[in-house]
């Protein structure tokens, strides 16, 4: 499957037998990498966390070896320049690099001045500089942002400022290291469209690392899979995602529809090659499976009991909240959350998800209405008391980890509870670590753990205080496919053990796959509240909330239009239905 570059076209990026090892590292991070990337190519680099993607990208602009030293074998040429021989500042003129964290890439206090930073460093004259800034802002859809302050921008806007900042230096090659991993879907879609334009209109060469399989399928022209420092696959996205088992082997994310089709095939359902990868391709194939036997379609009833039948644990009554001097962040929210529910809180950025959730453990107090948690009015109890009922796990585990060992980290939350004996503390620590699957990491230093494990440690440290409710903010953000899977499996296990789970997420398919109840927030109010089927099969509703229909629900809707009413939004549920249909069909034939 190796793609041979056409020798007639000029190669913009060349890796010649490149091997690299970080200083004091014991293993090679890159091993004998050979690559040729043409002008005007949009290349995605994928692989599990730690596979060497960032290392590979950092070699293109000379961050390795000019910033990170280490042992290098072979040679990297970017736009014909040997990256090891030319200083980093020269490389900056031909290769622009954009990193994951937009915040630390913005150095000035207005957008315009930040974009001017690069050009002024390399000594462009004022005339050229003004022209380049205008062009860079235009190409990143930032016209009119010139005088805005970066601290008032959204994550997506900041990331675009960062791109404009390198574009103003007129590079030929643009390298983006997971630029969308902290963005919401809308901002991420915008960024990919920009990349397309840069490639098509400016003939730039793009290298981009990302976990977003659906978008890579739509936008990238070529995908390079890195596994343990080696290029293990190199070719077009379609052929990559047609072989899901190979993708799983390298630990990379795959498009939901492609995975669904592959799983159906694994269940023995006949799906001809080429295997459908997109919604449009999948609809006729799946419609074919169900044709002729519409009556046999199993009826779908939600097995989850309605909240009314459960004991109410969190009671939100006419809750309003406004931050100092701004418009209402929450407005007249009424909500009951019962014991044992699995809830997904969805909505676009600024809809009020986090503001609402922070009322559950008293981090925020209502400015109007009230919130009653386990019978206690949050206005009258401190967060120390309320957090024993509602545990809150934040998105970034590194904002709370501070102890030199995993054990102490978990104990910290326990020592704030008075009257616990040492043996109780020890047993609850082990219990919490066992619940998240880290029991064998007790003595490890937290920062030697991977990102996924640190996320689990954060969960354990909250879990140890034995809260009935767990609020988890963006559980899978920043994790690769395997890490995300493990995290969700753990959350399901906690739910089975009786915890009430509230997940805040931008990932609609995740909500559809796991939640029993979905609450849609929009402009500080509850726009809809129901089962995933009730929510995700209403495209108009999602559109009003600024959300997109998750892939499996979109497939269901397309089938519905053809008279096949599955009303199914979760992947494994869809597989089960298709499987039953298949078996029924097989029996009929017999």
């Amino acid at each position: 499957m190796m793609q041979q570059p056409n020798p007639n076209e000029r190669l913009q990026v060349v890796f010649e037998d490149v091997t690299y090892r970080y200083p004091r590292g014991t293993d090679d991070v890159l091993r004998r990498v050979e690559l040729g990337i043409r002008e005007n190519e949009f290349v995605a680099v994928v692989g599990r966390t730690g596979a060497g993607k960032t290392t590979l990208l950092s070699m293109v602009n000379g961050l390795i070896p000019h910033f990170f030293e280490g042992e290098i074998g072979g040679r990297v040429l970017s736009a014909g320049i040997d990256t090891q021989r030319s200083p980093a500042t020269t490389m900056a003129r031909v290769v622009g690099m954009v990193f994951q964290d937009a915040e630390t890439q913005i150095l000035a206090t207005t957008v315009e001045k930040d974009v001017a930073f690069g050009p002024s460093n390399i000594g462009q004259d004022a005339e050229t500089m003004k022209r380049n800034i205008a062009t860079a802002l235009e190409r990143t859809d930032l016209c009119g942002y010139e005088r805005r302050s970066p601290s008032g921008l959204s994550g997506g806007e900041k990331q675009r400022v960062a791109i404009a900042g390198v574009l103003a230096m007129e590079p030929r090659i643009l390298v983006l290291d997971e630029p969308t991993s902290e963005l919401d879907p809308e901002a991420s879609a915008h960024l990919f469209t920009l990349c397309d334009k840069l490639c098509a209109e400016q003939r730039m060469t793009l290298l981009l690392a990302s976990h977003e399989a659906e978008r890579l399928l739509d936008h990238a022209k070529r995908i390079i899979v890195i596994d343990e420092g080696k290029v293990c696959w190199d070719g077009n996205p379609r052929s990559l995602y047609s072989d899901i088992s190979a993708c799983r082997h390298s630990g990379i994310s795959v498009p939901v529809i492609a995975e669904l089709m592959w799983n159906l095939r694994q269940r023995g359902i006949r799906i001809d090659d080429p295997i459908p990868l997109t919604l449009d391709e999948a609809v006729p194939v799946v419609a074919g499976l169900f044709s002729g036997s519409k009556r046999n379609i199993p009826s779908i009833t939600s097995s989850a009991p309605r909240p009314a039948q459960r004991r109410v644990l969190i009671d939100v009554r006419n809750l309003s909240h406004h931050y100092n001097g701004t418009r209402d962040a929450l407005n007249g929210v009424d909500l009951q959350i019962g014991r044992g529910e699995f809830i997904a809180l969805v909505g676009k950025n600024g809809a009020g998800k986090t503001t609402l959730a922070k009322h559950f453990n008293g981090l925020l107090k209502p400015t109007g209405g009230k919130v009653i948690v386990g019978g206690r009015d949050t206005n009258r109890y401190s967060i120390g008391i309320l957090s024993k009922t509602v545990g809150y796990v934040f998105q970034n585990p590194d904002h709370q980890i501070f102890c030199p060992s995993v054990r102490e980290e978990v104990e910290f939350g326990l020592r704030t509870i008075e009257g616990l004996t040492e043996s109780e503390i020890a047993s609850r620590t082990t219990e919490a670590l066992r619940a998240v699957g880290l029991e064998d990491r007790l003595a490890r230093h937290p920062f030697t753990l991977g990102k996924g494990e640190r996320q689990k440690l954060a969960v354990a440290s909250v879990l140890a205080r034995a809260p009935e409710v767990l609020v988890i903010d963006e559980p899978t953000t920043g994790l690769d496919m395997e890490g995300g899977r493990a995290m969700m499996a753990m959350i399901r296990r906690l739910h089975r053990d009786g915890h009430t789970i509230i997940v805040i997420t931008h990932d609609m398919q995740l909500a559809a796959d796991h939640a029993e109840r979905v609450i849609v927030l929009s402009h500080g109010s509850v726009l809809a509240d129901g089962t995933p089927e009730e929510i995700f099969l209403q495209p108009d509703l999602l559109c009003r909330a600024g959300l997109t229909t998750p892939p499996v629900a979109a497939l269901s809707l397309a089938l519905q239009a053809k008279g096949i009413d599955l009303r199914c939004v979760a992947m494994n549920r869809f597989e089960e239905i298709a499987d039953m249909q298949h078996n029924a069909g097989a029996e009929n034939a017999r």
Binding site: K130, Q400, F402
Partner: protein, 269 residues
């Protein structure tokens, strides 16, 4: 955010950074020359007028004043009771209203009260003048001004970058505090050792995050060609315009009056 630049086209925004720096220093000098509160009040009134005329949000000023309220109260009380009548020249100021303790200890004088008010007003003037400067001046202009004054670029760059990252660090601190309070960290009570431990739960993640951020920042700098050229070209060269000369002339005129008044022994207590 308290010190974040607020983009606008007001007259204060359009003044050159150097003009504003001169005004800033003049205001500070003026309030320290006189002990009578009227003078400091006049400077404060001038600054408040500038704030209102330039259409800047006043909630920042309110927030800072509220935060400083305990400081004002303590300073006022300490000043009021720590001056003997003979320290004042003026007969009216020497008037003793009462003694805090028996045996004529800790007298409350009219002069003490006036001085207490002046000291509080001086602090308000300094706070307000700094706010006006940072709210209406892009950090990059300060960078340019300092380069004109022959401060090495790297030094000036470090200072301005630090200012740029104050709002970011404020946000990070909120996130860390929220995370630790959510697992029961009580930041307001407990004995010394417990407090140190709770404090370190906030400090350690902040420090680690700052180190990570500074590494990212260093990479971003390299990537933007930082240090590749000795000649730094600024986007908008700062220029002294007619309004700057008018503002400076006004400033020097007022300053001259202030100096004359001072040497005529006005404003003493």
């Amino acid at each position: 955010m308290l010190v974040d630049y607020v983009p606008s086209e007001s007259f204060l925004h359009r003044l050159d950074v150097r003009t504003k720096l001169v005004w800033f220093c003049s205001c500070i000098v003026a309030v320290f020359l006189f002990d009578q509160p009227v003078y400091a009040a006049a400077v404060l009134a001038l600054l408040l007028t500038a704030l209102l005329l330039s259409g800047l949000p006043s909630h920042g000023v309110k927030r800072v004043s509220l935060m400083l309220l305990p400081v004002f109260v303590i300073l006022f009380l300490v000043t009021v009771f720590s001056h003997e009548p003979r320290e004042f020249k003026d007969a009216f100021s020497q008037t003793v209203i009462l003694f805090l303790f028996p045996d004529r200890v800790a007298p409350l004088t009219v002069g003490g009260i006036l001085l207490g008010i002046t000291i509080c007003l001086r602090i308000m003037v300094m706070v307000l003048a700094s706010l006006l400067l940072t709210l209406t001046t892009p950090v990059d202009d300060l960078l340019q001004a300092s380069q004109r004054m022959h401060v090495p670029y790297v030094v000036a760059f470090i200072v301005t970058t630090a200012i740029r990252f104050i709002p970011t660090m404020e946000q990070k601190a909120t996130m860390v505090l929220d995370a630790q309070r959510s697992r029961g960290a009580d930041l307001d009570s407990g004995g010394l050792i417990k407090r140190i431990r709770v404090f370190s739960s906030v400090l350690v993640p902040m420090i680690i995050d700052s180190i990570r951020m500074s590494e990212n920042l260093a990479m971003a700098l390299l990537n933007r060609g930082f240090g590749s050229s000795r000649r730094i070209v600024f986007l908008d060269e700062i220029h002294m315009k007619r309004r700057d000369y008018i503002a400076l002339a006004t400033n020097f005129l007022l300053l001259a009056i202030v100096v004359v008044l001072y040497f005529q022994s006005f404003g003493r207590l």
